[in-house]
Symmetry: C2
Subunit: 197 residues, 2 copies
DNA sequence: TTGATAGTTGACTATTTAGTAAACATCAGT
DNA sequence: ACTGATGTTTACTAAATAGTCAACTATCAA
């Protein structure tokens, strides 16, 4: 599963063959077919397995013990640092694995996009509760937390994909500022980061 | 080029073979290799050819004769109706062809993402000038038109990709409202569309 | 020790795919 | 009609790829 995840992420679903997966995993093809019926089957299992650590990370980032706007700030920061680590390791910004995969296979497969959709929806809820908490705390005026969270999700995924296409980390730099602008946060709080430009 | 564009868009770059392209185009493989060196070569030419009509459409939508915020509203509407037409024709929302392709091939190819990046940047400028005009007309408070346009671009592309993944047009419905919220437009103007919820 | 179960392997087939090269077709200019 | 240039097609090769299967091995409980 690690092998298939990495191959799809660093390349694409279409360019990832069962032979490549087996070679990378140090396993013969017969063994592969003993456990999985197809590449899609394996990918589905790999998405599931890969989601757990991410969810744990999100749980930490969006912990209720953290002030709501700080959660979003940390999420933006996490995204940047995570992609920076990836780029340092493999020479390329890779963006969101689920989103890239979903975009590629959505017209050819049913189960993968469905699973990915679940993950996206699950992720969105972290945003929604952070926005709702911020609203209730009077930090922002956002009675429409659900709608705002949908906007944020599309924005983040778009930004990550753009960073992947351009192989450029700088694209991600605007995330925090745009997030706060989108939510109508006063600029005073996020000033200490960078103010020139 | 029509054949390759449609095959990549309705499927993916990886799932589109030269044989399929030739079959769809009613041409033999020998002829293909007479004009193009590879699939990437053809795709590059097809992107170029396909961009012209889109640019013409954007020129019309973002005409300076149209009030700036109306341009963005029309763009959102155009996106929805365009994707709706696609879904009616082929049964699936397909999103932005350049963005999906770029995400898929960015780690395997250099020329395609570069060309796609140019198109994205070109498109962003329509947003930027609309925002700037709106700012100068006092319709919005957005001295940072360039930054706002980058945010909008990432958001639109993210939304279109999400619509593709979920094969759901409804995802696109929020575009206009989010656009105006992002720009800080007063709600009074866009009220007549839908207000309940 | 044995027997059964789970897992692995190598060798195999059939198909798809990229790419090539020579023969063939069309046609404008002479 | 001849020629050269521009395409087009047929037929082909080599490699990659998906998928199968019988034989083999490891593990472990009885």
């Amino acid at each position: 599963m690690e092998a298939v995840s990495e191959l799809i992420w660093t390349g694409s679903y279409g360019s990832t063959t069962i032979d490549h997966i087996c070679e990378k995993a140090g396993v013969k093809k017969g063994s592969f077919y003993y456990f999985f019926e197809s590449k899609a089957d394996l990918a589905l299992a790999a998405i599931d397995a890969g989601w757990n650590p991410i969810r744990a990370e999100l749980d930490a980032l969006f912990s209720a013990s953290v002030p709501p706007l700080e959660r979003l700030r940390k999420y933006c920061d996490y995204n940047y640092r995570f992609q920076a680590g990836i780029k340092a390791k493999c020479g390329h910004v890779l963006g969101c694995p689920q989103f890239s995969l979903g975009s590629e296979v959505s017209t050819q497969d049913d189960r993968l996009p469905k699973k990915i959709q679940e993950i996206l929806e699950y992720t969105r809820r972290y945003f929604e509760s952070a926005i709702r908490d911020a609203h209730n705390a009077g930090l922002v005026d956002a009675p429409d937390a659900a709608a705002k969270s949908r906007t944020l999700l599309a924005y983040y995924e778009g930004l990550l994909t753009q960073a992947r296409i351009q192989n450029d980390l700088e694209v991600l730099r605007e995330a925090e500022r745009s997030t706060f602008q989108l939510l109508g946060v006063k600029e005073t709080q996020s000033a200490p980061v960078e103010s020139n430009k």
